[in-house]
């Protein structure tokens, strides 16, 4: 009906259409609600909602953050019993006691003691690190949900001076901006403090919370730090000016003898005189504009895993075809070694895995100990690594070859005539067999506990096959030696006369001489 090219393009289009909604829809991508949600999300930005209050609740197995919004609704994000819940629906999984739970717990501990406007700032820039796999995906879903939250209007901070810290207390040194790596985190930490916790010392300067102005004709001696508000300069500041979560506005006629730094804000030069440098450092963009990982749905996870499996399968298939085409004898010898000396190959592979790193170290050290050998170290390292990879991959493909060959023989023995008895088919069938457990994992890996068990089984089986292949490749010297391949035939059996009289292969119906009965011994019995 359709030309193959049209079909291919159609498949590609369907793939894009099928894959794209996975990034936007967070729940069942095939439900009508999800479809509406998908198109709604596709054509508008993330909705901004004003949070007027927030709550943190923790128990032995759950940690919940709730934002109360202007319109009376709530946003609830929770880690409970291994599941990441967003507004009551599962958005992913986490490992109890793992990195995600630790980062979430740390965030909630901070949020428990800050007012809602600061909590909003805090969650918008929450960026846990060190996450992998499903935890990383789940964290992306949490961050995506948190990104749309803004503080409710009317939550402005009352301007006030910040009390000085006692000796040994928190100090923010803004006399120089040379060490931003140290200064910026300090400023961020300070900006998270509220109430009685907010006490700090500014060497040669002062600190204020909320909007702050230096009036026309006024002179501010020393450096100026403003948290959560704009610094409006009409007069003169003899020192540096720093604003965190606010702008610095230098009006006409104003003078700042030092430099200006705005963290999370701008510096607006409205005709003033800034003698030093003007520096700005934006808020982290992760929570607002940086691309985030797609939400994880069951279908999406399965699709991604399936694509990965298909990619690996095709790659191995291509490599296997190449080996059959260009190194047929070698792969057959390794495959025969697998079939004939399975246990020995497994032990050799196990030993090889244990010794591969120490051997490498010994080679490098040995070369390094000699003067001439030092120059060979890079070459030896590359060659050794390549050999190890070729041995591992080649061995695995040989195992697949052996599996396919065994299956073909059994089918032929059962009388089937529709059997492809060639190396390409052997490897294809073998790889398919090796991939079966992974296919089950792709389909059912999302099931709690069972999914992990399937994954474990698949890893175990693949490791065993790889170990056997590695060992067989080692035993057969990458297919160059057939001592363990069951191909040995004693030289005396290869004489023409013997072969003519006694065919060795393929004729099980040959009539062999019957066993002769042993005549009774003529030796007289021993004397009593």
């Amino acid at each position: 009906m359709f030309a193959p090219k049209s079909r291919a393009l159609g498949a590609l289009f369907i793939t894009f259409v099928a894959a794209t909604p996975l990034a936007a829809a967070t729940r069942d991508p095939f439900s009508p609600d999800a479809a509406v949600s998908f198109f709604r999300d596709l054509f508008r930005d993330a909705p901004d909602v004003g949070a007027k209050d927030h709550m943190v609740a923790t128990s032995s197995d759950s940690r919940t953050l709730t934002f109360k919004l202007d319109d009376g609704s709530e946003i609830t994000l929770s880690l409970a019993g291994g599941r990441v819940l967003i507004d009551g629906e599962q958005a992913g999984r986490y490992i109890p006691g793992g990195a995600l739970e630790g980062a979430w717990q740390e965030l909630l501990a901070d949020l428990a003691r800050v007012p809602t406007p600061l909590a909003v700032l805090r969650v918008r820039s929450w960026a846990p690190t060190g996450l992998v796999g499903e935890e990383k995906t789940a964290a992306s879903a949490l961050r995506r949900r948190l990104a749309g939250i803004t503080a409710a209007t009317g939550e402005a901070i009352t301007p006030q001076p910040i009390p000085g810290a006692p000796p040994g207390g928190l100090t923010v040194d803004i006399r120089s901006f040379n060490d931003l790596r140290t200064l910026e985190p300090t400023l961020w930490r300070v900006s998270q403090l509220t109430g009685p916790d907010l006490k700090l010392a500014v060497p040669d300067g002062r600190a204020y919370l909320g909007h702050f102005s230096v009036g026309t004709g006024d002179e501010q001696e020393g450096h100026l730090l403003v948290l959560h508000g704009d610094a409006d300069i009409f007069g003169t500041v003899r020192g540096n000016v720093v604003a965190v979560d606010g702008d610095v506005v230098v009006h006409a006629g104003a003078t700042i003898t030092g430099s200006v730094l705005a963290v999370g804000g701008r510096v607006q030069d409205a005709g003033g005189d800034i003698r030093g440098a003007v520096l700005t450092l934006s808020d982290p963009e992760t929570a607002t504009t940086a691309p985030l990982a797609p939400a994880s749905s069951t279908a999406g996870t399965a699709l991604r895993r399936g694509a990965g499996l298909a990619g690996i399968f095709l790659s191995l298939m291509l490599m296997g075809a190449g080996m059959v085409a260009f190194a047929k004898r070698q792969i057959e010898v390794v495959a025969d070694t697998v079939g004939h000396s399975f246990g020995r190959a497994f032990l050799a592979g196990l030993l090889g895995q244990i010794l591969v790193v120490p051997t490498f170290g010994m080679i490098i050290v040995g070369l390094a100990l000699t003067v001439v050998g030092i120059f060979l170290v890079p070459f030896a390292a590359v060659v050794y690594t390549l050999l190890a990879v070729v041995t591992l991959v080649g061995g695995f493909l040989a195992v697949a070859h052996a599996m396919g060959e065994v299956r073909a023989r059994r089918k032929m023995a059962a009388g089937s005539t529709n059997v492809s008895a060639n190396g390409y088919a052997y490897i294809g069938v073998g790889l398919t067999g090796a991939a079966l457990l992974w296919v089950v994992w792709v389909a059912l890996g999302w099931v709690p506990v069972a999914g992990w068990l399937i994954e474990l089984a698949a890893i175990l089986v693949t490791w065993v096959l790889a170990t056997v292949g590695f060992g067989a490749a080692l035993l057969s010297r990458l297919g160059l030696r057939d001592s363990f391949a069951g191909r040995f035939i004693a030289p005396e059996t290869l004489t023409d006369e013997y072969l003519w009289a006694t065919p060795q292969f393929g004729v099980p119906a040959v009539t062999r001489p019957e066993k002769r009965e042993v005549p009774p011994s003529r030796t007289p019995p021993p004397m009593p």
Binding site: P4, R7, A8, A11, L12, T15, F16, A19, T20, L22, A23, S125, A127, T129, K136, S140, R143, F177, N178, D179, L180, R181, I274, R275, G276, A277, V278, L279, T280, L281, S282, D283, P284, E285, T286, A290, P291, L292, A293, P294, L303, R304, A307, A310, G311, L314, M317, G428
Partner: protein, 286 residues
């Protein structure tokens, strides 16, 4: 078998489609800006170091001594800005966190970008180091007194589209494992250009408005070195090569050097000293 091939083709398309449709993973990008008015500065010595990403460097607004905008991944890098009014001297860097040297982990890291500009009319002593990524450096319009540009693993393009307002003393280029491409370096009016290349392709374009004598010293370990020379210039090349090729068309042998026709009477001359290990030297006349 045909079905198998067709099925594999569809699976491949599907896998490619899924790969293209997957958004990038999260990262934490920040933007750092800095600028300073020229005030009474009579010169500037600037050091710019950019670990990974795209760097654009060139002339900026008059009256602004320097300005920079850096977009970086705060989990992997940190900006550093120091200014010493005695000199004056600027030290502007985007360094990998931990000072572990250049480290490129994935394509996302290369989303880092920086735009650095300098005052057009103030004598500049410039020292630039590029890590991994791409560098676009426009020296035309600047008043370059001396410049040193090091590329570790970068594709670097250096252009000088306008003649330097002052004679440049030296230009040092260090190619590392990078591809270095230059346009109209002659406009810098340098007395000497030194190039030290490791691996990669290099194109040194010495055309532009310059007079008298230009000395070029170039070392290339692995790769082709292409010299673009003005047609009216007399050229003398001393070539030390190991496994390199050189087609001396238009040159005659003079002792251990290759000399272009009309070298003695040329209005301007280029004295080239090339050391090439593996690769070749190509001369192009423009």
């Amino acid at each position: 078998m045909r079905h198998l091939v067709r099925g594999a083709w569809y699976v491949g398309l599907w896998a490619v489609g899924c790969g293209l449709s997957t958004p990038l993973a999260a990262q934490t990008m920040r933007t750092f800006t800095v600028e300073r008015k020229a005030e009474s500065a009579s010169q500037l010595r600037a050091t710019v170091e950019f670990g990974a990403g795209e760097l654009s460097l060139g002339p900026g607004k008059a009256g602004m001594l320097y300005s920079a905008e850096m977009r970086y991944d705060q989990e992997r890098a940190a900006p550093q800005h120091r200014f010493d009014p005695q000199g004056p001297q600027l030290d502007l860097r985007l360094r990998p966190i931990g000072n572990a040297g250049v480290r490129v982990t994935n394509r996302e890291q290369l989303a880092q970008r920086a735009v650095v500009t300098f005052a057009p009319g103030i004598p500049l002593d410039l020292d630039v180091t590029l890590g991994a990524g791409e560098g676009q450096i426009e020296l035309g319009g600047l008043k370059v007194k001396r410049a040193a540009i090091r590329s570790v693993a970068t594709r670097t393009v250096i252009r000088v589209d306008r003649p330097n307002a002052m004679a440049c003393e030296t230009l040092d280029l260090d190619g590392g494992a990078a591809e270095v491409y230059t346009e109209k370096l002659g406009n810098l009016r340098c007395a000497e250009i030194r190039f030290d290349g490791g691996m990669g392709q290099t194109r040194l374009d010495l055309t532009g408005r310059w007079t008298s004598t230009l000395r070029l010293s170039a070392k290339q370990a692995l790769g082709t070195l292409t010299l673009v020379l003005p047609k009216d210039a007399g050229v003398r090349i001393v070539l030390d090569r190991t496994l390199s090729s050189f087609e001396p068309t238009g040159f005659t042998k003079d002792g251990n050097a290759w000399v272009s026709a009309g070298f003695a009477s040329a209005p301007r001359t280029v004295l080239v000293d090339v050391t090439s290990a593996v690769g070749g030297l190509v001369v192009v006349w423009e």
